[in-house]
């Protein structure tokens, strides 16, 4: 392989990216060395097993990925604004929409939510850490290394260009011979390991690490939504693992699962991909539902309306999510019976979702609604998600779907549910729990600017796309003719896209501004919260709770505050030593080996992949012989902490 094949060349955009990546790296190394922060970085962050720190790292990585995916989106909108534009050529455009989709779903939406779950859920259930802190670090680092592996395809070897769904035969070796598709397969595979481990970890955490007094039906609704999400992860991700592995075998070892030659069955890929892919949609939407429930309840000053119905509807959604996957390929010609069955199961999902919408509305009813930034995001979610939801029902009607399929109608639908569901939730949750993570709030005034600009831009960008779809514009075209008559709506969409970009930039500025100027938190309960995470002091000590809290119902912290208002004095109990897990450098090292193995496989450099796999196994052996039992936080240290806060 020649050097100019190894490095992607020939495009000024990519040279620009090369330079900025190099400068950022040099800048970071210089800053770390100059301020003597290397040791700090290693001991405090790279080796941490603290769920709060891991959560913060997840969120930082997700925001970076949001930036990357957002730049991709802006490039696409730039290309599509006017007919016959020559800004990007077909291949470049294909690479960009492929990486946009993959990054937004796998490396932005999921990690952002998992990051918030990491920070919040253990606090909500009164736990001092997760069930398997070590595995939690492995989860983060494999996700991170998978994301990095996927992202370097941009400058080394070339990006995948077969769409985030990677349909074969297009994504097969015959029609996509470069290494780009290998990056997709291995990046997702490595990140998928982390996701599966997160699933198991948090399921056990929620089931077993709750304070003993918290019953299942007293758990905060965000914890419930996380629990159900974890169940979906556990059963959906192995399917992706297998599908990716089979395609990897096809591309690297000459097997014939999805090839056109020797009896392979390309349609099977679509089938397996969506068996994972549809539950994946619920993996990124259920935690969002949970967050909106918490935030709406907090800022309406009312307990959640229909708590039990909310829980059961999520259970039903989780069950149905595995029975609807064929609606992604109604047009494959599987016959009337198959299409009818999957039409109906898909429509059924609208029922529990509708129940949730009305429960949110009636949580607001008779409330005292405070329009904080977090609340604004949660409120905007309701009407926007309803638009996405009803068009989802329209898409579920197979006979009509033959006309919507693969068009901008579909693009509009899934952006309406994914942005107004997941992305709004990420922003809402970020503003809501920001003081828990960083000990100061995000500036409300800037937050509201972001909100209004982004929401206006979002609707301006995606609402016209419904009509573009009905006007016959297929997704994934890199340009169109003047005669197609799609220009005016595309101009609107691009304007919306620009507004969304501006909104994001204001958010980034807000993070900087608030870091500099926001007053530091003193109480740990900035919003008059209802659940246990708000009972922890600011900043949250690394052991979370000096005393395990006593739970007497749903909205446990609210009940405590009510009792204190009625004159009940909190009793002073003596502190006991608290057991905590030790930090470990093994997860990050193991993940680096995963990265090496993956990189070797991308280029079929067997020596390198074997070296990487040996490294992975070696770190596992080291872990197996590690009998470290963690340590105890002494009573003195706890007293010291509790005094200062």
């Amino acid at each position: 392989m020649k050097l100019d094949e190894f490095f992607v060349t020939g495009d000024p955009l990519i040279y620009g990216a090369d330079v900025s990546i190099a400068l950022t790296l040099i800048g970071a190394i210089f800053a770390l060395t100059y301020f003597k922060k290397w040791k700090w970085l290693w001991t405090e962050w790279l080796t941490t097993v603290d769920h709060k720190k891991l959560g913060i790292m997840y969120i930082i990585a997700a925001v970076l990925m949001l930036f990357r995916g957002g730049v991709d989106a802006m490039l696409m909108r730039a290309q599509l604004t006017v007919p016959d534009a020559g800004f990007l050529d077909a291949n470049h455009y294909n690479e960009i929409f492929t990486t946009h989709g993959t990054i937004m779903i796998i490396f932005m939406a999921m990690p952002f939510l998992i990051g918030l779950i990491n920070v919040v859920v253990p606090l909500q259930i009164g736990a001092r850490d997760v069930a398997y802190p070590f595995l939690n670090a492995v989860s983060f680092w494999t996700f991170f290394m998978g994301a990095m592996l996927f992202n370097i395809s941009f400058v080394i070897g070339g990006s995948p260009s077969a769409g985030w769904t990677s349909y074969v035969p297009l994504a097969g070796l015959e029609l996509s011979p470069g290494v780009g598709q290998n990056y997709y397969l291995l990046g997702l595979q490595i990140a998928g390991i982390g996701t599966l481990l997160t699933g198991i970890n948090f399921l056990v955490t929620i089931l077993k690490m709750r304070v003993p007094s918290m019953k299942l039906m007293q758990m905060p609704i965000f914890t419930w939504s996380s629990l159900i999400t974890m169940v979906i992860i556990i059963f959906a991700f192995p399917v992706l693992t297998v599908a990716l592995a089979l395609m990897t075998f096809d591309r690297l070892f000459g097997s014939h699962f999805f090839t056109m030659m020797d009896g392979g069955m390309p349609m099977l890929w679509a089938n397996l991909f969506w068996i994972w892919g549809h539950p994946e949609v619920y993996i990124v939407i259920l935690p969002a539902f949970g967050m909106f429930s918490e935030i709406i309840s907090t800022f309406a000053r009312k307990t959640l309306f229909g708590y039990k119905a909310m829980v059961y509807s999520m259970v039903v959604i989780a069950g149905l999510s595995f029975l609807v996957w064929v609606h992604h390929f109604f047009t494959m010609g599987a016959g009337g019976a198959v299409n009818s069955f999957f039409s109906i199961t898909t429509m059924l999902i609208a029922v529990p979702t509708g129940v949730k919408i009305f429960n949110w509305l009636f949580t607001l009813y008779k409330g005292r609604i405070r329009f904080t930034t977090a609340m604004l995001w949660s409120l905007a979610f309701i009407p926007n998600f309803v638009i996405g939801g009803v068009t989802g029902v329209m898409l579920a009607m197979a006979a009509a779907d033959y006309q919507y399929h693969n068009t901008y109608f579909l693009v509009a639908h899934f952006h309406y549910v994914l942005i107004s569901g997941t992305v709004y939730a990420c922003f809402a949750g970020l503003h809501f729990w920001y003081p828990k993570m960083f000990n100061h709030r995000l500036n409300e005034r800037l937050g509201k600017w972001t909100f209004w600009i982004f929401v206006a831009g979002f609707n301006l960008c995606f609402f016209p796309m419904y009509f573009l779809g009905l006007a016959g514009m297929p997704r994934r075209v890199y340009t169109y003719g003047i005669g197609d008559g799609w220009m005016s709506l595309n101009v609107l969409a691009t304007m919306g896209g620009v507004l969304m970009g501006i909104g994001f930039l204001i958010l980034v500025y807000n993070i900087y501004y608030s870091f500099r100027y926001s007053p530091r938190e003193t109480t740990g309960d900035p919003w008059d919260g209802r659940t246990l995470e708000w009972s922890t002091p600011a900043p949250v000590p690394h052991y979370n709770f000096a005393h395990l809290p006593e739970v007497k119902g749903h909205d446990a912290f609210w009940i405590m505050k009510e009792e204190i208002k009625q004159g009940k004095k909190p009793e002073k109990k003596p502190y006991k030593p608290i057991h905590m897990p030790s930090y470990s450098g093994v997860p990050v090292v193991m993940s680096v080996f995963f990265f090496i193995a993956g990189f070797g496989m991308v280029f079929s450099w067997n020596w390198m992949s074997i070296l990487g796999l040996i490294g992975v196994l070696a770190t596992m052996v080291i872990r197996s012989f590690d009998y470290d039992k963690g340590f105890y936080v002494s009573v003195e240290e706890i007293e010291e902490h509790e005094k200062t806060t």
């Binding site: 399917v239 349609m267 599987a334």
Partner: protein, 106 residues
Amino acid sequence: MASNNEQTNSHSHFPWSHVVGFGLSIVLTLLALWIGFYSGFSLTTIMVIVVGLALVQATIQLLMFMHITESEDSSVQVGTILYAVFIAVAVVAGTIWVMSFGMHYM
């Protein structure tokens, strides 16, 4: 938690449940073999019976060898496995059903 722990009460006894489980496994395997080769049933009937026998044998393993019901979390364990079986049926049966179209052209 020891109350639902059958194993704890039989520490020093002969491991009857294992021996019975092992015997049943062998019998079921041979039975499946006989049905497959000598029963003369149609292929569909054979497969239905044989898959049924495999499920029985799997259940025996779960109960007698793996003690799925013994710990305080047995309900979670059983629930996990049952849900996994639901997923397995949905994936296998669903895939075969959905992918069976167009086969007559092959």
